[in-house]
Symmetry: C2
Subunit: 212 residues, 2 copies
């Protein structure tokens, strides 16, 4: 039942956005939305919204719209965030700690099952019911946890090494905060988050717009 042969990446990214709004709407007891409602709220073209969904089947009723809670459930299932998933975090510096303490992760069904670092000063530190473990134990520990998602919050020069270890430990997808392009086997999916890059793009836009 792997329904979708080739879903565009931008579609997947937008699905996550839709889901966020649907959760809010559901919390506000809104029962039904139309694609034009979505456009008003998100700025994403209504046809785009419908086409995004169409990759995964039919969701709405013509003349009526979409049932909020049903759609929410189905998108969550598509993204596989309908049930808790274990995640490991490597690197317990400022950023890693911020992630560990971020309640949004739990809400979105991601459970940080273990945190690692190689700095002895950080190993053993406790935070949110979690003890920072020695990075060298990654393979051993994940053999029990079975996390297939890893979040890398280590410095650029350590990232490739850590990624290799994580992959060897069974990790299949990586969220990489280090400003470096990881070399990984084809089956492994990596997504990079780089605020420096984002800031650079923003910085570029500063002069292009002339005031008044």
């Amino acid at each position: 039942m792997n329904s979708s042969p080739k879903v565009p990446m931008p579609t997947l990214e937008r699905l996550a956005t839709y889901l966020r709004y649907l959760i809010d709407l559901d919390a506000s007891h809104v029962e039904t939305i139309s694609s034009t409602d979505v456009e008003r709220q998100t700025g994403i073209n209504a046809a785009q919204f419908r086409k995004d969904l169409s990759y995964f089947g039919e969701f709405g009723k013509p003349g009526v719209g979409y049932n909020v809670s049903e759609l929410q459930g189905r998108i969550a299932r598509i993204l596989k965030i309908d049930q808790m998933q274990p995640v490991i975090v490597v690197g317990a510096g400022n950023l890693g700690s911020a992630l560990i303490g971020y309640p949004g992760l739990q809400e979105h069904k991601f459970h940080i099952a273990a945190a690692f670092d190689r700095d002895p000063a950080k190993i053993g530190r406790r935070q949110n019911d979690l003890t920072v473990l020695d990075e060298t134990l990654l393979g051993e520990v994940n053999a029990k946890i079975g996390a297939r998602i890893a979040i890398l919050c280590v410095p650029a020069n350590a990232a490739q090494h850590v990624a290799n270890d994580a992959i060897a430990a069974g990790v299949r997808v990586i969220l990489n905060f280090a400003p470096i392009i990881l070399k990984v086997p084809e089956r492994v999916v990596v997504r990079n988050v780089s605020f420096l890059q984002e800031l650079a793009v923003l910085s570029y836009h500063l002069s292009s717009e002339t005031p008044t």
Copy 2:
């Protein structure tokens, strides 16, 4: 001398990537690179690299390649990160603190000139030579600082309000970490960073690849 009429967004994003690698290469005293070298290191197609640069003029010598330090300087100038830029951070929670303590920002010529929060418990706290200020002072303080870049690390329900204030205070581009789509005037540029979204996309990819 606003040379470039319409540069694709993906090009800008890649420019920031190139810059990172050039900085490293320069530090390793590499003098020259070719576009194929770039492809080997970054995985970005060599022709893509050349085309990206072509939006801004000519940079290389046929038969030779590109001078690393010169190219680095020119890309930095294009992205306007060749000289220090003041940035304000709103929201001094876990994430905001992590950013304030992140040395990479300084290295990339972004100087956090002020940090704000609305939580009395956080106001007055000091970190990295910076005192967290009351959010209501944003306009007043930025009149002196003149920052045109703001980083939003506030919860989703506060983000729109803070964005409005920041824009009123002269901010022109926003890096938004809150999981919400901000409504801003056309002249203001927003970029969103959402690890939840990234995780969701990664999560989707978990099942599509079948083992063996």
